[in-house]
Symmetry: C2
């Protein structure tokens, strides 16, 4: 997307305010005004306008994100048909493995978590639905990129770069493409603490009828608790078969 020529600054400000409120987990007028670099009265007016429609709510002396966004958010998620078909499979996989299972889609060259399910031993990460991540530094992202044409992948890397998330993140382009080749061959990706230290995961793409990835699902587990045999021998098959179910269902209906 090229630069906007005439951005509506007021809208930008509103969005910034909302993001700040979420970051701070609730905030007061002055606090927000400081960060946004606009006067208190302006912030106050924004908040009141949003509050009118319950996009924010005032609780005591601080403002919070309102449930009105749930309508838009849930709607946006449901527009990805993959969500509906994948959800049961993700839940099931979480229950069976006992671990953390995630569903990710690619939008504008970045990954967005659509859904997660936690098994009873699942690690508690800070991941949340709607979170955006780089594709190259997660198993999920690699699984998706492996099933995209090379030029598309190049374009994405050009745009977003390959910043290191941990010291194991692949930051060299050639190495990365070799990795993708391997993923394509075995049809699943392994994330060896490339996204978060101490966390490994197995990710499998969900493709359309033409071997193009639409999304990916993964199982994440702490390197310590899960030994290599379970991780490298058993998990891949479980994730693969879950993804397979989703693919079949998705490409039929």
């Amino acid at each position: 997307m090229a630069q906007t020529n005439h951005p509506v600054r007021t809208v930008d400000r509103t969005l910034e305010i909302l993001e700040i409120i979420r970051e701070l987990d609730g905030a007061g007028v002055s606090e927000i005004a400081d960060r946004v670099q606009v006067g208190k009265s302006a912030v106050h007016n924004h908040l009141n306008t949003l509050a009118q429609r319950e996009y924010v709510v005032k609780e005591g002396d601080e403002y919070h994100i309102g449930l009105a966004f749930l309508g838009l958010g849930a709607y946006a998620r449901n527009r990805n048909e993959i969500y509906d078909t994948a959800r049961p499979a993700v839940d099931k996989l979480a229950e069976e493995t006992g671990e953390l299972v995630n569903l990710l889609v690619e939008k504008q060259g970045r990954g967005i978590f659509l859904y997660k399910a936690e098994g009873d031993q699942a690690v508690q990460l800070g991941t949340y639905a709607g979170q955006r991540v780089h594709l190259h530094s997660t198993g999920l992202g690699k699984a998706i990129l492996a099933f995209r044409p090379r030029e598309e992948v190049e374009a994405i890397l050009d745009e977003h770069g390959m910043p290191a998330a941990t010291d194991k993140t692949i930051t060299d382009r050639e190495t990365f493409f070799e990795e993708l080749d391997e993923i394509r061959e075995q049809r699943y990706a392994v994330d060896r603490e490339e996204g978060l230290p101490g966390l490994r995961c197995i990710a499998v793409p969900i493709t359309d009828g033409h071997d193009r990835a639409l999304a990916a699902i993964s199982v994440s587990c702490p390197s310590q608790r899960v030994d290599d045999e379970r991780f490298f021998e058993e998990l891949p098959n479980e994730v693969l078969s879950a993804a397979n179910v989703v693919e079949l269902e998705h490409n039929h209906s």
Copy 2:
């Protein structure tokens, strides 16, 4: 909430635009401009500003709600601690009954659906997470209001009125309070096609330690398919015990 004195019109316009896009399930600039009563260029600027941050996305020649809202929406939902504790119970209830199960909270005198789960025979309604409804015309709302002080209920009815949703909706205030008395006694509410024609439901409040309702869960089923015995004799107990589990867990942690 009193009227805002200095609403930020630009923000209002943005919100209107977003709501229109959702309503129309995707829309073009001209289409939106018509409805919002502003020029095409203004709408265009708004959309571009939103697109910059992926709050909207352009797909072909129409704009759609973007996944950036999922972050805010999911966050807003998770701020209600009841969501986390109730979700498993709602899922389980849906599976056991095979019907549609909903979770509703009260905000500013109206009901907001937080979550739904569908059993394998569940009716397909247009309800979605984030949807706002009147409290007096749904079983869920009645269940909540029954466990609120009378003056609070009066205030809510004053503010929002008692519009009829179907010909069975209770629109008389005295009758309504009698209904609430009965609900309080049996601890569950029955919705006899008061919210939607042909749809009945059993709703049970989730209360805090002081008998004040925080939320409610319900099972909805078509009047035809489910006979009176199952509906009046069996369902209430199933919903009651599910709600009970949630209450216990919620009031402990």
